[in-house]
Amino acid sequence: ETKVSFAYWGDPAELPPFEKIVADYEAANPDVKIEVQHAPWSGYFTRLDAQLAAGAGPDVFFITNVPTYAARGQLEPLDKWIADKGFPIDQFNPEALLIHQLDDVLYSVPRDNDTNVLYYNKAAFDEAGVAYPTADWDWAALRDAAIKLTVTDGGRITRYGLAIEKNNWSNWVRQNGGTTFDHPTRPTKFTLDEPKGLEAIQFIGDLINVDKVTPNFTELDQAGGTGQLFSSQQAAIVFANAARLGTFADADFEWAVAPLPKGPTGIRSNSLGGAGFGINPNAKDKEAAWNFFAYLAGEPGQVVFASANASAVPAQIGNAAVKAAFKAPFADVFLSEAANGKLNASFPKYVDITNLYLQPALDLVWNGEATAKDAIGGIVADVTAKLAE
């Protein structure tokens, strides 16, 4: 009996498709046993890193920040396997694959596209007398609605007009026509300090601190995230990905989704790419690992993910069966928004730069303790130096 170990993270609601794929695969391949290692997002990488550092680790694993792992040789290069085995890599969005590469070599295959939409609480809109969001909304319309939707009681906010997620800011920068780096995967220059970028950052900061219609990210974490806030009707609109569909399914109020708003100059942007699956170069039985990988990352797996209630937009969207399986509510909105996808920065030093410089600087803006200009301006030298290293 062959054993293949497989690690992934996920909130409880996200787990059923993983479990189904494993079960289906084992049923189809009785001589193979898939050893499943699940950990929540909060602990997944700590464990994975320790294992990989010790030359161990799962054979196949769910992964993000691919270039960092690839640079350390902790991911199996896939090009040769794909060529040998005829994996339909052309059914994936080639741009989305960029963040799964390092130096033009592919190291992982994405599971989905982390497409965001606006979820909105119809009752709240009705109550505030605000018209439901449309595809024509721009930032101003969004801000305007958020202000009207925010409810306060004795100085305390009992319902936020809008809640957004912490790691989504770069999308806002793009909607405003700005960039963070001159190139998302091969940067040479830090560009967030240019006016378009600063404007976008400041816009978010002001939603939080000036308009006071959006919760601070620390607060959002403490409150249980956008999902929790929306479920308990304490946020009227949230920016979130398709994973919420499952969470909100049994909400006791009416809600719907809408496309993201346009930037002030009409630019549309959404996230492109998402986490993917990789193979451990140290896997004992690489052939077996690949076989499971191909099932998981290819059509059979993609169909399961696409048809799961809690799924995100599937990555292998060029495959007819996969596309057909994607029958999520508001699937059309997700698919059209997926088309606006643009890459987030993704390169080996990005983790360091984020943790050391970007995040602390952005914290100051989110907390209203500094303007975007001052905060971002203050780290240009550090980030530039790090890029140059």
Partner: protein, 278 residues
């Protein structure tokens, strides 16, 4: 207290202050319980409420079905129990040598043991992980248990206590024909009970709440400890607070039980051990 008359005023002030302190120390715990029995939607209701009109007690049962809480609980009991017992054995043996035996290098070795207290575990995590992996102990109970089977703190605590055992008792037992092993077993261990209880509480509390080590050295669900199982409830985007709090409350119970059981002995153990003035 042998202070006559003049009680009242001060003592009332102190008593009330202490009760206020109890409210502060227990409030988060009360909050945990109150959250555990709230409907999810009410968790963040403003203004915040501690009292729950219609408590949902079944969260305490749901924990067992949503995550493998029962198994994790059993694992934790097994691992923490084993660590506690091993620490008691290993530390008491070392403490016996430090407190009751003469040997060259005693002071130096003791200082080395003590200095180990000052090294943060984050630094030794990876080297330790390598050791355990090379021993083939990933996903094993021994991998969870043995790295914690010895504790400098425990050795320190027990040594201080053992030093207060009157020398005559040990001499009497030597005359009675005891080898050192028997002195250790029949005299020092029984007499060291309070300090052992103290160590048991300390070891149990800290190991029960250990998170990082079990996280990285176990991969199989059936090897999960309570803390790991609980952490799976804390999602990336969404957390089921009532369930997480119900689990946390349940997870505190064994530690509380151990504290209450050892409480009496614990207090006197610390007294006699560290501050006997000898």
């Amino acid at each position: 207290m042998a202070r006559p008359t003049r009680h009242s005023a001060w003592d009332w002030v102190i008593f009330i202050a202490l009760l206020a302190g109890v409210i502060i120390t227990c409030a988060p715990f009360a909050w945990m319980i109150s959250t555990a029995i709230k409907p999810n939607a009410e968790v963040f209701r403003f203004p915040p409420t501690l009292w729950v009109e219609a408590p949902l007690w079944d969260n305490f049962l749901r924990v067992f079905t949503v995550i493998p809480f029962g198994r994790a609980f059993a694992n934790s009991l097994m691992v923490t129990g084993a660590i506690t017992i091993l620490q008691l054995i290993v530390c008491s043996m070392a403490a016996y040598a430090f407190a009751c035996l003469q040997f060259r290098g005693r002071e130096v070795l003791f200082l080395i043991y003590l200095a180990a207290l000052m090294v943060p575990s984050q630094v030794t995590l990876i080297p330790n992980f390598l050791v355990v992996r090379n021993l083939g102990w990933i996903d094993t109970y021994q991998g969870l248990i043995l790295p914690f089977a010895f504790s400098s703190f425990g050795t320190f605590l027990l040594r201080q206590y053992f030093k207060t055992i009157p020398r005559e008792l040990i001499e009497a037992s030597r005359l009675d024909g005891c080898s050192h092993w028997r002195i250790y077993l029949f005299i020092v261990l029984p007499l060291g009970k309070p300090a052992l209880a103290a160590l048991a509480i300390f070891a149990f509390v800290s190991q029960w709440n250990n998170f990082l080590w079990p996280l990285i050295t176990t991969t199989k669900p059936e090897m999960q400890t309570v803390q790991i199982a609980l952490s799976t409830l804390q999602g990336q985007f969404n957390t089921d607070w009532p369930l997480l709090m119900a689990g946390s409350v349940l997870a505190t119970m064994p530690v509380l039980a151990v504290f209450i059981l050892g409480n009496k002995a614990f207090i006197s153990g610390l007294t006699a051990g560290s501050f006997g003035g000898k």
